[in-house]
């Protein structure tokens, strides 16, 4: 009997494949300093490291000498911004962003407790995964990134009927609505939602994404904007916040 493994292991591979990732690895960049204040910098560093065990002690400590608003604005959020920057530049991987976001949120919760009221969020975004569809990890990522960017996420979860999505939009009047679908037989809910929103005069950019969802499909109905990557969700929400219409957002991101 032949035993070939030795030969395979000795094979030259350059004609077979190229490990483009090895050449691509981005020079290890560091988190930049965000504050001259040592304590605030410690907060930011803790967020950047995504250490949600440690954050409680650190924030409690800094709140002894600083106002909660200052801790949020000059420690927690700038720390998170650094993480987002490094993710955008291809240095960080997704879990680093999520863990930092968890950490930031834990820190903010402590500050809010101290303030006795909730921090003001940038704006509301309603997110959902289409009726009949249980592929929601894309939505989970979108939620996390929107949270990280300071939006209030109204998370309707997966397998959400058309009516419920519309109802939530009526109730919350969000700056943006998102939908995730990974099946071509579930994404058909999106145009129905868009049509009902239109009937109600709820002019909300409706960003649709997920494996099965193509640009061509999404731009075939009003309000629809196609989202390719989860990372686009927060930038699109920023655009919506600035008052860009769905047509403007579509023109900017699609085509």
């Amino acid at each position: 009997m032949l035993t070939l493994n030795g030969e395979i292991m000795k094979t030259k591979t350059s004609s077979i494949f190229t490990r483009f990732d090895i050449n691509l690895e981005v020079e290890k960049q560091k988190v930049r300093k965000v504050s001259t204040d040592e304590l605030l910098q410690e907060v930011a560093d803790c967020v950047a490291e995504g250490d949600d065990d440690e954050i409680e002690n650190i924030v409690k400590n800094v709140l002894k000498t600083k106002s909660p608003v200052k801790v949020i604005d000059e420690g927690l959020i700038p720390g998170m911004n650094e993480v987002t920057r490094l993710w955008d530049e291809g240095v960080y991987f997704l879990p680093q962003v999520i863990l930092s976001s968890d950490t930031m949120i834990a820190g903010i919760a402590l500050c809010e407790k101290r303030m006795g009221k909730l921090m003001e969020k940038k704006g509301k975004v309603v997110t959902h995964t289409a009726e009949g569809d249980i592929h929601d990890i894309g939505q989970v990522i979108v939620n996390a990134l929107l949270n990280a960017a300071g939006f209030e996420v109204i998370n309707l979860g997966a397998d959400v009927p058309v009516d419920e999505v519309v109802k939530a939009c009526k109730l919350h009047n969000p700056v943006m609505l998102t939908g995730t679908a990974l099946m071509t037989t579930t994404m058909t809910a999106f145009p129905k939602i868009a049509a009902e929103l239109k009937e109600l005069g709820l002019n909300i950019p409706f960003v649709c994404g997920g494996g099965a969802v193509s640009e061509e499909y999404v731009i075939s109905f009003d309000y629809g904007v196609w989202g390719k990557e989860a990372s686009q969700a927060s930038a699109m929400a920023e655009d919506a916040l600035k008052g860009l219409s769905w047509q403007e957002i579509r023109n900017k991101w699609n085509g």
Binding site: M1, M9, F17, R19, P95, Q96, G132, T188
Partner: protein, 455 residues
């Protein structure tokens, strides 16, 4: 349930495509794992056809007919058609049943008229979403079993992509939390697979249908998909590789409950499963690029028995409908492998499949027959519990990756892998202790309901 403690194959060199130690035979006499690789085509309905039963039935009628006709036109002798239920089919169990009956009828006709030998696999959709329903007691649960009943009557093979553990897995994977992934896959997934497959096997046997098997699609393929290509920065590829090794123990449970194979195409852990059990497996690789990109397009064929496209949406291409087109391609892929068998060059051919991808990516590396076998061995050597075997698989997987200098890793991938291994090492040795820790640690994860798993 007793966990498997020995290997069906005594060494990896014996594992070959087309041939399994325990072949299965379908209603029309198709022998799977009996010496030949057989194409398995999976067509998927177009958007909108789910609208009502009529349009959906018609859609599958066409797609399945196109596939059968193309075989006759180009001379492919054998075919398996798999229809993966869409939500609506399982949610209305009679739909799936009627489609199965229709397809069985089509296959009978092609056999009578032309002599084509075909078989049909129904894959029921697991609509029990763990964070929404109680996995063991819900309307969805009942519909899943009803669907198995309806389909097993007419189908040759039934399968499912079960969902147990997904709620914890999704939470963990985006947090780089290998402990949570292990808990989700080995403990929650393992228990759910056991619970559901004991019942599926009964239903299948009642209808003289083959209980095909499961897949850790819900977890290991999510990881693979998120790991993505060389440009993706979602999760490290080494994490996806560990996740795959862990998945084998979970998928294995279905066979320990009486499933006989052919294993589901999207279970990339199947080479490990075949090494352990000797059952025939379906795999998918380059020709399933229509469904998703992968870094093991060739090597995953090295020990397959059925060769699949995972899924292609039904639509017209210049060369015919996508169902016909992909049937033609898969059939030629299979013909090439079968030609190597006839010529006695199957070892050389297999070597080419392996050399194509062995060092392309760690996920491909660990699925090479030798490594898959070694991981299988770690699983059977640590058969005290689902936990111990899953951890052993992951540790062995990491060891293999680090142990071969030709398996290049980026610095980040390397560091991540070392961290995961350290974390795995630090876990308690006993399943009970591990479960206690995890039940506590993940108790607050939204939607996690321990009762779904009998806790």
């Amino acid at each position: 349930m007793k966990l498997t403690s020995s290997m069906a194959y005594k060494n990896p060199q014996e594992i070959m495509f087309g041939k399994a130690i325990k072949p299965v035979i379908t209603k029309r006499g198709l022998k799977i794992g009996g010496g030949n690789v057989i194409p398995e085509i999976v067509p998927h309905p177009r958007p909108g056809r789910e609208k009502d039963k009529g349009t959906l039935i018609r859609e599958f009628e066409r797609a399945n007919d196109d596939a059968l006709e193309r075989c006759v036109n180009v001379g492919h002798p054998y075919l398996v058609i798999e229809n993966e239920h869409i939500y609506q089919m399982t949610n209305n169990p009679s739909w799936g049943g009627e489609i199965a009956a229709q397809t069985a009828h089509q296959m009978d006709e092609y056999k009578d008229k032309y002599g084509l030998i075909a078989a049909y696999r129904s894959t029921i959709a697991d609509i029990r979403k763990p964070d929404i329903v109680n996995m063991r007691d819900s309307d969805q649960t009942r519909k899943v079993f009803e669907s198995f009943n309806e389909c097993a009557r007419h189908s040759d093979i039934v399968s499912i992509e079960s969902m147990g553990g997904k709620e914890i897995f999704d939470y963990s994977i985006i947090r780089n939390d290998i402990t949570g992934m292990l808990f989700a896959q080995a403990i929650l997934g393992g228990r759910d697979v056991e619970w559901i497959w004991k019942q599926i096997v009964k239903i299948a046997k009642k209808h003289n249908c083959i209980p095909g098997g499961d897949t850790d699609c819900a977890q290991a393929n999510t990881a693979m998909f998120m790991a993505g290509g060389f440009l993706s920065k979602n999760i490290p590829h080494t994490l996806a590789a560990l996740c795959r090794a862990i998945s084998a123990g979970r998928t294995l449970v279905a066979y320990e409950c009486g499933a006989t194979g052919p294993g589901k195409d999207c279970a990339y852990e199947n080479p490990i499963i075949k090494a352990i059990t000797g059952i025939p497996i379906a795999t998918e690789g380059k020709t399933s690029a229509c469904a998703h990109s992968a870094l093991c397009g060739n090597v995953i064929a090295a020990v397959c028995d059925l060769w699949s496209n995972e899924a292609v949406e039904f639509h017209d291409m210049f060369g015919g409908s996508s169902a016909a087109v992909f049937t033609e391609i898969l059939g030629y892929d299979a013909a090439l492998m079968n030609a190597s068998v006839e010529l006695g060059y199957q070892k050389q051919f297999q070597a080419c499949l392996i050399a194509s991808d062995r060092y392309r990516d760690p996920q491909a590396f660990i699925l090479c027959p030798d490594n898959a076998w070694t991981i299988g061995k770690a699983i059977t050597d640590n058969s005290e519990s689902c936990f111990t075997r899953a951890r052993a698989a992951a540790l062995k997987c990491g060891e293999l990756i680090l142990g071969d200098p030709k398996m290049m890793l980026t610095a980040f991938e390397n560091k991540s892998l070392l961290d995961y291994l350290k974390e795995l090492d630090s876990l308690p040795d006993n399943e009970g202790d591990f479960i206690d820790i995890c039940l506590k640690k993940y108790s607050k994860v939204k939607g996690f309901n321990p009762a779904s798993y009998g806790f």
